[in-house]
Amino acid sequence: MEFTLKTFIFYGFALMTVASALLVVTVRNIVHAAFSLMVTLFGVAGLYVFLQADFLAATQVIVYVGGILVLILFGVMMTSGRLEMRIHIERGQLLLGGAVALALLMLLLTVIANTPAWKNRIDDGTELQPTTERIGELILNGPFLLPFEVVSVLLLVALIGAALISRKEVRD
C-alpha cells in the first residue's frame, strides 16, 4: 500500500480513536473520561467519512457528541459530588477484567486475521458520493419503512419512560 496523504489521515483518525478510548477506560476522573469519550466519538465519525458514509458521520456527531455526551455530563454533574468524581477500582477486579478483555481481544484478532473472505479486501476506489438521498429513499420508500416506524415508537416509549422514572415522586 503506497503511503499517501489519505492513509496518513486514516492512521491519524485510527490512533486518535484508539488512544482516547484507552483514556476513557483508564483515566481516574470521570469528567476527563467523558471528554476523552468525545474525542473517541469524533474519531469514529472520521472513520465513517473514510467509509464513505457521510450521513452516518454527521448523525454520529449530532446525536452522540451533541446529545448522548451532554446527557452523560448532566448525569455526572447531578450524581457525583466532589468525592465521587474519582473512580475507585479494585486491584483483583482490574487483573481479572484485564485478563478477560485481553483474551477477548486475542480471540477477535485471530478471527479477523484468519477469515478468508475478509482478507485483503480493498474498497472499489469510487469517489465519495452523497448518501443522504439514497438513505432517505431506502428508509421512507423502501424496505426499511417498518423498522423505521418501530424504532421511532421505541424511542418515544424510552423517552417517556425515562422522564417518568427520573422525575420526583409527588406524594399527596
Binding site: 484508539v18 484485564g98 477477548l104 425515562a162
Partner: protein, 101 residues
C-alpha cells in the same frame, strides 16, 4: 485501507468497552463502556457495508438504527441512575443491594 484495518480498530474499541464494564465501579463509567461497545458495532456495520456490498448501503442504515437505540438506551440508563441516586445516595453498583438475599 483494507477491511481488516477497520475490524481491528473495532475489535480494540469493543475490548476496551468490555474492560470498562468489567472493572469500573461507577455506573456512568459503565455507560461509557457500553457506548464504546455500541460504537464498535456500528463501525463494523459501516465497514462491512462498504467492503462486502459497495453498491448496497443497508449496513449504514442499520448503523443509524444502532445510534437511535444507543440514544434510547442512554436516556433510560441515566433516568435509572438518577432514581438510584435519589434512593441510595450513591451510584456505585455494588452498593445497590436491596434485593440481595
Amino acid at each position: 485501507m483494507t477491511l481488516q484495518h477497520y475490524l481491528v480498530i473495532s475489535a480494540i474499541l469493543f475490548t476496551l468497552g468490555i474492560f470498562a464494564v468489567l472493572t469500573r465501579r461507577n455506573a456512568i463509567s459503565i455507560l461509557m463502556g457500553i457506548e464504546l461497545i455500541l460504537n464498535s458495532c456500528n463501525l463494523n456495520f459501516a465497514a462491512f457495508s462498504r467492503f462486502m456490498t459497495p453498491e448496497d448501503i443497508s449496513g449504514q442504515i442499520i448503523a443509524i438504527f444502532g445510534i437511535v437505540l444507543a440514544a434510547a438506551e442512554a436516556a433510560v440508563f441515566l433516568a435509572i441512575i438518577l432514581a438510584i441516586y435519589r434512593e441510595f445516595g450513591s451510584i456505585r453498583p455494588n452498593e445497590v443491594d436491596t434485593l440481595k438475599g
